[in-house]
C-alpha cells in the first residue's frame, strides 16, 4: 500500500509539473463543452440554427402571403432576404430569375418562392416552391422542417381563402355571399358574436382553422399536420449538387479531410522540437544554412505532406464511396494546397510560440479540437449562435471546408474558388509572418 501511495504521489507530482497536461485536462474540455453547449442550445431559450440566409420571392399579392413572409422574418433561425443589392448599392426586390445564380454563387443556400398561384384556382390547396443547395445534410433537413413549420402555422388563413375561392367558382358571387351570411348567422347563433364581423371573417377565409394550425405547430396534433401536408403542395428544387455522384459521402468528406490535415499540424510542430533537442539546429546552422532555410523547408515539407495525405484520402473516398475526385481534380489540388499551407503555418506558429514540445502538443490539441468544432468540421456552422458563426469565419477549418464543398459539391471553377483560396493563403501569410518573427526572436534556435 505504501508503495502504491508513493507511486501515486509521483504521478500527481509529474502531472502538476506538466503545464501542457494540466491545461489539456481542464482547459480543452471546458472550451469544447462550451462550444457543444452553444450548438445544442443549452441554457438558450431558442435552440437550433440561427441566421440561415433565406431568400424569399413573393409573387402573390395575397395579404396572407405577405403574412407568411413576415412570419419567416420573425423566425430567428432565418435571415430573410427579399431584396437584391446592386453593384451601385441600390436595392431592388429579388426575382425568381435571381435565385438560381445566387444559390450557385453561394449567396444563400435556401430560397422560398410564393408563386402568384399560391392558392390553387382548381380544387382546394396551396402551392409553394423551395430552392436549395443541400450541401449540408443536417442543415438542409433542419431548414426544411423550420420552413414547413412556418408555412403550416400560416396555412389556415391561406387555406380558408382557397376554400372561398373554389366556393366562389362553384356557387357564384351572390350565392356565396348568401352562404357566408347564413353560415355567419348560424355560427353566431350557436357561439355568440357579431353576425357582420363573422361574415367578414368567413369571406377572408378564416374558418377557425388557425386554431388547428396552432395545435399543429405545438406538435401535439399529428393529425392536423398530416392534413396540411396533403393540402399544401411544396415543390422542392435542388439547385446545386444534383449531379454529384455520391452525395452523402461528398458532403462529409471535407470534414474528414480537415481532421487529417489538422493532425499533420500537430506533427509538424512537434518535429521542430525534436530537432532542437538533438542539437541538430546547431549542426545545421554551423553549416552554410540560414534559419530561413530551415523554416521554409519545414513549411514546404508540411504543405507537401498535407497534399499527399489529402490526395490519398480523396482517392480512398473514391474507391470506397465513389466520390467523384477526378471531375474537378485540378481545383481540388488547388484547395488542398491552400488548406495544407494554412494548417502547416499554424503548426509552425505553435512551434514558434511554445516553450517546450509538450506545450506545443498541448496547444495543438486544443487548437485542432476547437477549430474543428467552431469551424464546422463536426456540425454545421449555422447551428451556432451568430457570434460563434462570426468567429468561425476566422478559422482555417471554415474556409477549407468551404473550398472542399465548392470544388466537390458545387463543381465550381477556378475563378469561383479563387476568393476562398485567397482567404486561405491570406491566413497562411499572416500566420507565417508571426511565426517567422517569433522564430527569429524566440529561443528555439538557441
Amino acid at each position: 500500500m505504501r508503495i502504491i501511495l508513493t507511486l501515486l504521489r509521483k504521478d500527481f507530482a509529474n502531472f502538476i509539473r506538466d503545464k501542457a497536461a494540466v491545461s489539456l485536462t481542464f482547459l480543452v474540455p471546458v472550451a469544447l463543452i462550451y462550444i457543444f453547449g452553444q450548438v445544442f442550445g443549452l441554457n438558450r431559450k431558442d435552440s437550433g440554427p440561427t441566421g440561415i440566409r433565406l431568400a424569399v420571392v413573393n409573387q402573390s399579392d395575397n395579404p396572407a402571403a405577405q403574412q407568411l413572409v413576415d412570419a419567416l422574418k420573425a423566425e430567428k433561425s432565418f435571415r430573410v432576404l427579399t431584396n437584391r443589392v446592386n453593384p451601385d448599392k441600390s436595392e431592388r426586390p429579388l426575382t425568381e430569375e435571381d435565385l438560381r445564380p445566387m444559390i450557385r454563387n453561394r449567396d444563400f443556400r435556401f430560397a422560398l418562392i410564393i408563386p402568384r398561384d399560391v392558392i390553387a384556382t382548381r380544387g382546394v390547396g396551396l402551392h409553394l416552391r423551395i430552392l436549395s443547395d443541400p450541401r449540408n445534410d443536417i442543415e438542409t433537413q433542419t431548414v426544411n422542417g423550420l420552413l414547413q413549420k412556418a408555412i403550416f402555422s400560416n396555412v389556415p388563413q391561406l387555406l380558408g381563402q382557397s376554400l372561398q375561392t373554389s366556393a366562389r367558382k362553384h356557387l357564384g358571387n351572390p350565392r356565396l355571399d348568401q352562404f357566408n351570411g347564413e353560415l355567419a348567422a348560424a355560427v353566431t347563433k350557436a357561439f355568440g358574436g357579431d353576425v357582420e364581423e363573422t361574415k367578414q371573417a368567413l369571406a377572408e377565409g378564416d374558418f377557425g382553422l388557425s386554431a388547428l394550425g396552432a395545435a399543429g405547430q405545438s406538435g401535439q396534433q399529428g393529425a392536423s399536420a398530416d392534413f396540411f401536408a396533403k393540402v399544401v403542395k411544396i415543390e422542392n428544387e435542388q439547385v446545386v449538387g444534383k449531379d454529384v455522384k455520391s452525395p452523402e459521402a461528398t458532403r462529409v468528406v471535407g470534414g474528414w479531410a480537415m481532421m487529417f490535415l489538422l493532425f499533420a499540424l500537430s506533427h509538424s510542430a512537434a518535429a521542430f522540437f525534436e530537432e532542437k533537442k538533438a542539437g541538430l539546429f546547431q549542426r545545421l546552422l554551423s553549416a552554410p544554412v540560414r534559419r530561413a532555410h530551415i523554416l521554409w523547408s519545414r513549411f514546404l515539407y508540411g504543405v507537401l505532406l498535407g497534399l499527399v495525405q489529402l490526395t490519398a484520402l480523396f482517392f480512398a473516398g473514391r474507391l470506397m464511396y465513389g466520390i467523384d475526385v477526378l471531375g474537378n481534380f485540378g481545383n481540388l489540388v488547388v484547395v488542398c494546397t491552400a488548406a495544407a499551407a494554412a494548417c502547416t503555418a499554424f503548426g509552425m506558429l505553435l512551434a514558434a510560440i511554445s516553450p517546450t514540445a509538450a506545450a506545443a502538443n498541448g496547444l495543438a490539441t486544443f487548437l485542432v479540437l476547437t477549430m474543428s468544432a467552431t469551424g464546422g468540421a463536426w456540425f454545421p456552422v449555422s447551428f451556432m449562435p451568430e457570434f460563434m458563426q462570426t468567429i468561425a469565419r476566422f478559422t482555417l477549418v471554415y474556409w477549407s471546408m468551404e473550398g472542399f464543398s465548392q470544388v466537390l459539391w458545387a463543381g465550381q471553377s477556378f475563378l469561383q474558388i479563387l476568393p476562398t483560396v485567397g482567404v486561405l493563403l491570406g491566413i497562411t501569410a499572416g500566420v507565417m509572418a508571426v511565426a517567422v518573427w517569433r522564430f527569429n526572436r524566440g529561443a528555439i534556435f538557441d
Binding site: A278, G279, L280, Q282, R283, S286, A287
Partner: protein
Amino acid sequence: MLKLDRITKRYGTLTALDGVSLEIAPGEFFGLLGPNGAGKSTLMSLVAGLRAPEAGRITLDGRRVTAADPATRISLGLVPQAIALYEDLSAEQNLQIFGELYGLRGPDLRARIDEALEAVQLADRRRDQVKTFSGGMQRRLNLVAALLHRPRLLLCDEPTVGVDPQSRNAIFDFLEARVRAGLTVIYSTHYMEEATRLCSRIAIIDHGRIHALGTLDELLARLPFRDEISFPATPATAELAARLAAHGQIIRDGGTHRFRPATAFRTSAFYALAESLALPPRLFVTERPTLEALFLHLTGRTLRE
C-alpha cells in the same frame, strides 16, 4: 588562424563569457578545460557563428565571423555537444545530408562518406538506423559528420561524453591523425586526462574567464609545488601528516594524504622526516601534479564538483 579579442557574451543577466581573448595557430590541438557551465559551449557557438557576442570580435583567417555571414563557416566544422544526428535515418543518409548542405555531390561525396565511415569503424553499420547504435558509435558518427567538407578548423565540444573507453580511444587516435595531417582542433572537455593526453596548448576556463593558458608544462609550472607525495592515512602516519602541515599543503583525500610541498621544501627533507618517524619509503608515492590540482589552485574548486 583564429583570434578572439575580448569576447563578452551574456544570457540575460548571466555573463557566460567575460572578456575572453585567445589566439590559435594553424595545426594546434587546442584544449578548453573547464567544468560544466564554464562557458565552453558558448565559446564554440560564437566561433561557429551561431550566436553573436555582445562585445569583442572573432576573426578567422583575418575575416570577421558574424552570425549573419555564412562565408566563414565553410572552413570550420562543429561537433556539437549533443549528438546531432537524425536517428531514424541510417549513418549513410545522415552523412549524405550533411555533405550536401556543404555543396558536396555525386561520386566525390560518396567517396568522402566511405572514407569517413571507414575512419571511425562504422563502414559495416552504414545502412543501420543511427538509433540502433551504441553511445560510442553515435559519438564517432557525430564527429565525422563535421569533417566531410574538410574544414581547416574543427570545433569539438566534449565529444567523448558518455563514451566507452574503446570508442574514446578511437576518437583520440582519429583526431590525432587529423591534426598530424594539418587540421586545427579546438577541443573542449572537463576531463583533465583528455586535455593532458591530446592538447598541445590548454586554456583553463571557469565562469566565463580564462584563468591560465599555455602548454601542459607551462601550466603546471604555475603551481607552487612540483610534485605531490601521497601516503595512506593511518594512525602510524598521523604524526607525519601533522608535521608536514608546516612545510606545504596537506590534503586528506579519503584514505590517503596528499602532500604538496612548498617550493622551499626539498624532497630529501621529506624522506629524512619520514625516516625519523620510522616510516618505510614504500608507503610514499611521488606524482607529477595534475591539471586538476592546477584548477583547484587557480579557482579553489574541483573540475567535477
